[in-house]
């Protein structure tokens, strides 16, 4: 029995100490944009429009089981861009008749002639196959990706054009924000996570050439995509996978986060939807790890890329350590110094909650919405334990699916909660 109790303390310590460092590094990463005045100014991208646009754009919008309302809002925003050379490519699967109908209806209603419908004939239903199918229809110098429910800012493409001109890079990652953060605490948490990711973490990674891009509001030189042979059709995290291939070829990515140019998206509202989405991401990360492109990166880049892929799963353990600490304290009565040590991971955990609250303040400020209410802060603080558990559940689910080889595209349903009346009207005019 005593052996078991000692083992419990041992496990507790063995988990606590690495978790402390993981937690502290996560806090460091999350707050990167606020580390110093230099970091803040450098990551605060205010788009400066060049006098003339230089590039033409093709923006792919992959859709599946999508409603006409959501699609028309997305396409409407694209066609209303201030940039003058824009091709919108709606990518639909051949086995999705309703969405096909919607796409053709939109194409028919389009008076600009800039909307193309691309049909994917692949029997595998996932995002990368649709992207690859649409790539062959693209004519622009630059290929952009926009999720089916993303509302792009009118100046987005002009801004991105300028960034391409000024930096000379081949890839630009734009910002995404989740606007329905007041729908539920789940969406609030998701919105903050997106904000931290695009406003801060991505800058840290981009500065070290170890960025894993998202699959939304990303822009590539078309020649580069064709050279790479498009996206990996067997991978659920095709965005992370293509990032690794770009990095291994020595390309840099510029992150451009301007609150005025972010794409507006819908956050999952229910715990169920959130876990589903997160499981899919984790599963994609696991696939990407097993494919092994990250091994081709040099030293520090490799470690950082691996950290990106593993971090969500690793952090899910934080949720488990405190019950363990309490249990081992009451069962084993360890020496005081050891007992205190097992509580140390509480420091980054509390720090993370405080950081979330500051992020909430900064997020509402950046996006010009009303200041966060007290109950929003309360939601953030109180939801922490459940959120930790949801992280753990998604990590475990992904691991189980990975073992089973279950890689179906478990798509998040879009309810159109990010659409406000103004958006829909605009589109009805366009449609």
């Amino acid at each position: 029995m005593q052996v078991l109790l000692n083992a419990l303390i041992g496990v507790n310590l063995a988990v606590s100490v690495p978790l402390l460092f993981l937690g502290l590094f996560t806090c460091y990463w999350t707050t990167y944009a606020w580390h110093s005045p230099e970091n803040f100014d450098e990551t605060t991208f205010v788009s400066q429009r060049a006098g003339t646009s230089r590039f033409s754009f093709s923006v792919i919008v992959p859709v599946r089981d999508e409603s006409l309302r959501v699609m028309s809002a997305t396409i409407g925003c694209l066609l209303a861009q201030t940039h003058d050379r824009v091709q919108a490519v709606l990518s639909v699967g051949h086995d999705d008749p309703d969405t096909l109908d919607h796409a053709f209806a939109l194409a028919k209603a389009d008076t600009t002639g800039r909307l193309t419908v691309s049909i994917s004939w692949s029997d595998v239903h996932n995002k990368p196959t649709q992207l690859n199918a649409a790539l062959s229809s693209c004519t622009g110098d630059i290929v952009g990706l926009l999720d089916a429910e993303s509302l792009s800012a009118p100046d987005l493409l002009s801004g991105v054009d300028t960034v391409f001109q000024q930096t000379g890079v081949s890839v630009v990652q734009g910002g995404v924000t989740l606007t329905n953060y007041r729908s539920s605490w789940v969406s609030l948490r998701s919105a903050l996570e997106y904000y931290a990711h695009h406003r801060s973490k991505m800058h840290f990674s981009a500065a070290r050439d170890a960025i894993l891009m998202g699959g939304n509001t990303v822009f590539f030189k078309r020649s580069l995509l064709e050279e790479l042979g498009g996206w990996d059709e067997s991978n659920l995290a095709e965005d992370a996978e293509i990032s690794l291939r770009l990095l291994s070829l020595g390309h840099s990515v510029t992150v451009a986060y301007d609150p005025n140019l972010v794409s507006k998206e819908e956050a999952p509202v229910t715990m169920r939807a959130w876990v589903k989405q997160r499981t899919r991401w984790n599963l994609g990360f696991l696939q990407t790890i097993s494919k092994g492109v990250w091994r081709e990166l040099p030293g520090r880049q490799r470690r950082l890329a691996l950290w990106h892929l593993l971090q969500p799963s690793l952090m899910s353990f934080t949720g488990l350590v405190f019950p363990l600490s309490v249990l081992s304290y009451f069962l084993c009565h360890p020496p005081l110094a050891l007992a205190m040590l097992t509580w140390v991971p509480l420091v980054p955990t509390v720090l993370a909650v405080v950081i979330e609250c500051v992020l909430l303040r900064s997020f509402t400020h950046d996006h010009g919405s009303q200041p966060a209410r007290v109950r929003d802060y309360v939601k953030v603080v109180l939801s922490t334990p459940i959120y930790q558990m949801m992280l753990s559940v998604s990590a475990i689910r992904a691991a189980v699916k990975f073992r089973r080889g279950d890689f179906r595209w478990d798509k998040t349903m879009h309810e159109g909660r990010h659409l406000v009346d103004g958006d829909v009207q605009l589109v009805e005019v366009a449609a």
Binding site: W34, S36, E38, A207
Partner: protein, 531 residues
């Protein structure tokens, strides 16, 4: 927010621009180290002669000694102060004794450690001044002012928790004044302040001044994040103390155990004997202030005068704020005020003076056609410094060379006598300053051999377990001035009884250093009765 530019500017991320490497060893660093070393030398010079040993010094050194042997205190830890102070003292004191050997009084080893703390504090004073943009000459004079202040030298020699907390507090201010305004430096500042508070809780009084520094100096767009890391990390450090109490099941009062709440917080804030009102002649508070002023009127007068001026100079406003915050408990009627409370304010007084002189220099430089006065200012300050020096020299000489009141020598004699006279089986009630040395000499159990005199009355283990017969269990009492004072102040009735039933067998020193070794009459319970 988008701005329209005609020419696109090349967007090069800052992290790709090579930054010229800053030299670490600069004239400032060299001067700071030199001045702090000078100050530390003055503090060290004759530290075993002056001032007289304070009871608290014995307490902290013996607690540090116990910490090295696995216990926080020789007796029950009563949460009188958080223990971070003597936790730091313990290894350093052990290191000093490694070189000095066991013949050196433990309190003197503790005082040697205080020299190191003084060095770091003085270094921080110089660099805080420099970070405030104060000219090098005035920053240096601030350190010199401290080096020559009898009050500063006297206080910084004593083994006090306040002296241990001081570099942490000054370090927190130094970091908060960071020119790079990095977020994690504010977090570090919070942690340093937290350690300061856990070293001596009274330093928390200057927290608003530190908060003011961060609020006004942090980079506006990232200020909320900077404050968040300061507050969170500082709080987490401080919360480790209640967590410690909680894990020992001593956070809240309960039967048969001490608690942080009742023995720590409520004792210090409510039940400790008050020191009266400062403007009431004869009160303990008035006595303390008089005592401080007697040691050094100049630094306190200059400091408080400058503090008023500081409030009108944005750059150094926080210094004035810190000084007046410090003064609040002094002006408060009632509540306990300890003698060493003054330690915290002295460096701020020096900084305030330097800040004001520098601001006056700036003002003169701005007015036209006053080159003469601009040049004159350093001369005037130098003259003032010389006058001050002449005023100080006798006092400083007294502090560094006075042998007339050599309590350390008397204590050493008394200890030598006791070591030959008593055995492990005797129960000897002694000052905390004797305790560690006698334990090292082999009288090792806290309840047998050397016993701290007030624990005989106050620790529940005394009457409950180890010395149930009261004075009849005692063999010797080593009576000191400190003990005579506390006999009535702490109401030590059992000790009084022991003294009443004793005869003087040896005497050392005289006047304030008088030590009487008293043998208690033979009873069935003490060693004399057994023999």
């Amino acid at each position: 927010m988008s701005t329209v530019l005609d020419q696109p500017s090349l967007h090069v991320p800052l992290h790709r621009i090579p930054v010229p490497k800053k030299r670490w060893w600069t004239a400032d660093r060299a001067l700071g180290v030199a001045l702090a070393a000078l100050g530390a030398t003055v503090v060290a010079w004759g530290l075993n002669l002056f001032p007289a040993l304070l009871g608290d010094e014995g307490i902290y050194t013996s607690q540090a000694f116990s910490t090295l042997h696995g216990e926080l205190t020789p007796y029950t830890y009563t949460y009188d102060h958080p223990f971070a102070g003597w936790l730091q003292l313990a290894p350093l004191q052990g290191l000093v004794r490694l070189f000095a050997g066991n013949d050196e009084l433990m309190v003197v080893s503790g005082r040697v450690v205080m020299v190191a703390y003084a060095f770091v504090s003085l270094l921080f004073v110089f660099h805080i001044a420099r970070r405030l943009g104060i000219r090098r000459v005035y920053a240096g004079l601030a350190v010199l002012l401290l080096t020559l202040s009898p009050l500063y030298i006297t206080e910084s020699r004593e083994v006090l928790l306040d002296n241990i907390a001081l570099p942490w507090v000054l370090g927190a201010f130094y970091l908060a004044l960071t020119p790079s305004r990095r977020q994690w430096l504010y977090g570090l500042s919070g942690m340093m302040f937290g350690v300061g508070v856990l070293s001596k809780e009274t330093v928390v009084i200057v927290l608003p001044a530190l908060a003011y520094v961060i609020w006004t100096r942090a980079y506006r767009p990232i200020r909320s994040m900077s404050i968040a890391s300061f507050v969170t990390l500082g709080t987490m450090v401080v919360l480790s103390y209640p967590l410690f109490a909680l894990l020992r099941n001593e956070l809240l009062p309960g039967p048969r155990h001490v608690s942080l709440w009742s023995n720590g917080i409520m004792y210090q804030l409510a039940s400790r004997k008050g020191s009266g009102f400062v403007f009431q002649p004869g009160s303990a508070r008035a006595g303390l202030v008089h005592q401080w002023l007697a040691l050094d009127t100049v630094i306190l007068a200059v400091g408080f005068g400058s503090a008023v001026a500081c409030l009108f100079i944005a750059r150094v406003r926080f210094i004035g704020l810190a000084i007046f915050l410090w003064a609040l408990p002094v002006l408060k009627p009632g509540g306990y005020l300890p003698q060493m409370y003054v330690v915290l304010v002295i460096p701020f007084c020096a900084l305030a003076a330097a800040g004001v002189v520098d601001a006056v220099g700036n003002g003169l430089a701005r007015t036209r056609g006053s080159r003469v006065t601009t040049r004159l200012l350093p001369v005037l300050v130098a003259v003032a410094a010389v006058i001050g020096l002449v005023n100080y020299i006798p006092k400083v000489r007294h502090i560094t060379t006075d042998r007339g009141n050599n309590q350390v020598a008397v204590t050493a004699q008394a200890e030598a006598y006791l070591k030959t006279r008593i055995t492990k089986a005797d129960n000897v009630l002694v000052d905390p300053s004797y305790w560690g040395d006698l334990v090292v000499a082999g009288l090792n159990h806290p309840w047998q051999g050397a016993i701290v005199y007030y624990q005989f009355d106050l620790d529940p283990l005394s009457s409950g377990q180890y010395m149930p017969q009261g004075w009849q269990d005692v063999d010797y009492v080593v009576e000191t001035n400190e003990m005579r004072d506390n006999l009535t102040a702490l109401g030590l009735t059992k000790l009084s009884a022991a003294i009443k039933h004793s005869t003087v067998v040896a005497r050392f020193g005289s006047g304030g250093t008088l030590v009487l070794v008293r043998a208690v009459e033979a009873t069935p319970y003490n060693q004399k009765g057994v023999r």
